[in-house]
Amino acid sequence: MSTALYLLRSSNVAARKIGDELMIMFAQDSSLFSLNETAAILWNAADGSTPLADIVARDICPAFDIDAETALRDAAELAHGLAERGILQVGNQPFDTGSATT
């Protein structure tokens, strides 16, 4: 992974922890989406300024006993998938979070 990735939670969704489940609701149509454990880690860490590699090293590798390279590759794929669904934003630069909301 040569390019740093940064994640930011989308502003037009609402997230709530229900039991062990992190549920995302899209404001546009009230549809619900349930995040698995890894996706929930990315969501919680997606502050717009922490590189994905740091999130992986800090939160994912210790939790899943996985090597950093594999974990980062899988996490990047997952992050892009969440971005395609509108749950996260993914960029190569830190996000300006001055006007961002969660």
Partner: protein, 277 residues
Amino acid sequence: MTDNARPHSLDVGIGGVHVRLRTDSPDFITLMADRFRGFVGHVDAPDHVFDVDIVPVTYAEDESLDGITTEVRVLRDGPKWRLLCGDFDAEWNPGTRHGQVRLHPSPYSLDSVLRILHTVLLAEQGGMLMHASSVVLDGRAYLFTGVSESGKTTISRLAPPHAHLLTDEMSFIRLEDGEYFAYGTPFAGELATPGENMRAPLAGIFLLAKGTDNRIDDFDQGQAVRTVMANILYFARDDALTSKVFDNAIALAARVPVKRLTFFPDARVWDLFGPPA
């Protein structure tokens, strides 16, 4: 309270919220009084007042009332809400508690406006309208929800003779002093009959599935929230209020049992809903 331009009025009270409709059309008042029978009656101080202007269906120069658009749009416009569809165009200011409606001369058009008004009011107060039939048995209200043809009307038809039908179509849920209550509504489905104008504490919400026997299965918290969210009537395109609706669904599912009811369509299903122990 009427005005000179709209000398005729009708007060419609649903779920304890009284809306006064003022219009210049006595015929429309008669139509509405029949549509909302059981839920009309003069009150001295209505909660909201709507001036209703009837627009003929053939009035071709009215762009917003095209009579074709079926998509409901509910938009916040500063302090007001705008409620739009092909057969109505309404504006309502919650601050002044006053609204204006232009609509086609159909009871269904005003029915829609009132439903939408209540979705917004209830969302702010922790309640909701839900696609569900609701029945009161032995002083407790049971809601039955599900997709079309799942049996919402069927199970309400099968209720014991001493049960009370609140609605076969659109359930009205209010949060009052930390407890949820189901209210009767005039919003009718297949039965084409208004519900009884009464309320009861909400004892359970059941997602219907037809089967060969009668049984109740528990949901986990996530399934319960999904069931509630999937059946809430809600149209507003407003992030803050939508988040509130989400929180309302979570709170309701945490407080009121939400379960799956598999049932064979005969009266024995009601044996599962005996009086509280």
